[in-house]
Assembly symmetry: C2
C-alpha cells in the first residue's frame, strides 16, 4: 500500500436540504477525501483549522489512518460554509462562505510528506495547488479537483496546474465550463489537451464518466432509496478513487476502472446521511458489500 497526500479545506458546514438541516458540522473537501481514502490507504493531510476546531472535532479523524502532522491549527475561526439544496437535490445555493483562517492559508508540507507517491489536490486556489506541487518530490500520480470560481477567476494558475497533473476529477458542469463544450466527449478531448491524460467527470445521479487513452469507462450511480445530502459526495468519490489506486499500487486501465467503482461506492454512502454522518460509522464489510453490489448492478455477459 502506498500513501496519499491531500491538500484542501477542513470546514464547519451548515446544510439545509428537503430532509433536514444541520449546523456547524465538520466538513470540507480534505475531510471527506481523507475519511473516504482512509478505507483503502494511508492519508497525509495538509489543511488549516482555527482555534474553534477543538479536540472533540478532531475525533472525526481519530482511529483512521490519517496523518494530521500537516494540519495547521492557527488563531482565528475555521472556514465556514452554508448551503441550501433544491427540492430534487440537483442544485444548491451557497448562503455564505466565510474563509476565515483559510484566507491566509499557505500549505507547508512536513518533511515526511515530501515523498508521498499519490497526491490529491482538492478544490482550493490553483496557486496553492501549485505550491504543494513545488514541495513534493517526484510523485507517482497526481490528481486535482477545481471549481467554477477558479475557472472564472484564476484560469492562468489553473492552466499551470493542469499542465502538471496526471488526472483531473471534476463534475460535468465544470467540465463544460472549463472546455467551453456542451458535449462531454468534446469537453473531455479539450480538457485532456490542457494536460491531464486521465479525466474523471462526476455526473451526480448519472454516475461517473472516465476517459484515458482512446477509451471511456462509465459507472452508473447506485440506485438509493434515500438521499439526504449530496455535500461532499464528489470529494468522497475522489477519496475512494485515489485510495483504491494507492492501495492497489497499480495504474493500469483495469485498476483505474476499479478505482472508479470504489469511488462511486464510497460516494453512494456519503449521500445517505447529512454531512459525514454515514461515513463516520461505516464499516469495512459494508464497503465490501457495496462493491459487490456495484458488480451485480452493472454486470452482463458480452453479447
Amino acid at each position: 500500500m502506498q500513501a496519499i497526500l491531500t491538500v484542501g479545506s477542513v470546514a464547519f458546514d451548515s446544510i439545509k436540504a428537503p430532509g433536514g438541516e444541520v449546523t456547524g458540522v465538520v466538513g470540507g473537501a480534505a475531510t471527506y477525501f481523507s475519511v473516504a481514502a482512509s478505507f483503502f490507504a494511508d492519508v497525509r493531510m495538509v489543511a488549516v483549522v482555527g482555534e474553534d476546531f477543538d479536540d472533540g472535532r478532531m475525533q472525526v479523524f481519530g482511529g483512521r489512518s490519517i496523518d494530521l502532522t500537516g494540519l495547521q491549527r492557527v488563531p482565528g475561526e475555521t472556514f465556514r460554509w452554508k448551503g441550501e439544496y433544491s427540492a430534487d437535490l440537483n442544485s444548491r445555493e451557497t448562503i455564505y462562505t466565510h474563509l476565515n483562517v483559510f484566507e491566509q492559508f499557505r500549505p507547508v508540507l512536513p518533511d515526511a510528506y515530501r515523498q508521498t507517491p499519490f497526491v490529491f489536490l482538492a478544490n482550493i486556489h490553483p496557486a496553492l495547488q501549485l505550491e504543494v506541487l513545488r514541495q513534493v518530490d517526484a510523485p507517482r500520480f497526481v490528481a486535482a479537483d477545481t471549481m467554477n470560481f477558479w475557472i472564472e477567476g484564476a484560469l492562468d494558475d489553473l492552466r499551470a496546474v493542469l499542465s502538471r497533473v496526471d488526472a483531473l476529477v471534476i463534475n460535468d458542469e465544470e467540465a463544460r465550463q472549463l472546455s467551453g463544450e456542451a458535449n462531454l466527449v468534446k469537453a473531455a478531448r479539450s480538457i485532456r489537451a490542457m494536460g491531464p491524460k486521465l479525466l474523471v467527470i462526476k455526473r451526480g445521479e448519472s454516475g461517473v464518466l472516465m476517459t484515458r487513452g482512446q477509451g471511456f469507462f462509465a459507472a452508473p450511480a447506485m440506485p438509493l432509496e434515500s438521499v439526504a445530502d449530496p455535500t461532499g459526495a464528489g470529494d468522497t468519490f475522489a477519496g475512494g478513487f485515489m485510495g483504491y489506486l494507492a492501495s492497489a499500487g497499480d495504474l493500469s486501465d483495469e485498476a483505474v476502472n476499479r478505482a472508479i467503482i470504489a469511488g462511486s461506492a464510497l460516494a453512494s454512502f456519503a449521500v445517505e446521511d447529512f454531512g459525514l454522518g454515514r461515513l463516520l460509522g461505516l464499516r469495512k464489510e459494508e464497503v465490501s458489500d457495496r462493491l459487490a453490489e456495484f458488480k451485480r448492478l452493472t454486470d452482463f455477459k458480452a453479447l
Copy 2:
C-alpha cells in the same frame, strides 16, 4: 428466434433541434420500434397510415423482417407531429399533434398475429393497448410503454394495462408521475405493485435503470460526440430490448440485462442523426461493434 407483435403510431414527424431541422419524415413509435427490433427478430406491426403514406414512404420498412399485414392504410392523412428541442436537447416542446387517421384507429390483429409470443404495446391510448391484449392468445412476454398524457387522462385504463403486462418501459419523468414518488427506487416499487414484475426506466443521457425481483441493473448511455436528435430514442431502445429477448428466446435475468444493453446500443445510434436517418443505413456489424463497445465501457473485475 421468436416473433414480436407491436402496436403503435406510424407518423410524419417534423423536428427542429439545434443541429438542424427536418419536415415530414417518417417516424412514430411503432416505426422506430420495428426498425430497431428487426435487427434481432421478426416483427409484426399493427398500425394505421393515411393515403398520403405512399409506397415510397413504405420503403422505410422494406428489406427488413417486418410483417406489414397489420398496417392499415385508410382514407385521410397520416398522424403528424412537430417538436422542437431545447439547446441542450434535454427537453422538447410539441408544436403540434394532428392525430388524423390515428383518431379513429382500432387495432385489428390479422389471424396470423394472434399467437405471437412477444408483444410490445407502444405508447397509444391504454384502451387500445387493452384491445390488442384481448386479441392475442397467451403471449409469453408482454411489455408496454405509456406517457404523461395517459397517466393524467386515462389512468383507469392504464391501470388495467399495468395489471396485465409483464414489463413496463417508461422514462424517468413518467415513472415519477405515475408513482407520485421523486425517488426512482421508491417509484419503481410503487409501479411494480401495480402489476409489471419488470420495470425499465429510460433516463436519457443518464442511461437505463432496470429492476426485477430484488435486483437492479443499470446501463450508462454510450458517450457520443454528436447527438443530433433524440426523437424515437426510447422506442428504438424498446425495439432493441424486445428484439434481443425474442431472439434469445430466454427471459433469465442474464438475458434481460443483455437486452438492456442491446436496447441501449440501438438507441445510441438513433440519436446520431435526425429521424430514422442513422437506423435506416445501419449495418449489423456496426451493431455488433457497438455492443462490444458497451462491454468495454462498463466492464471491470470485481473488487
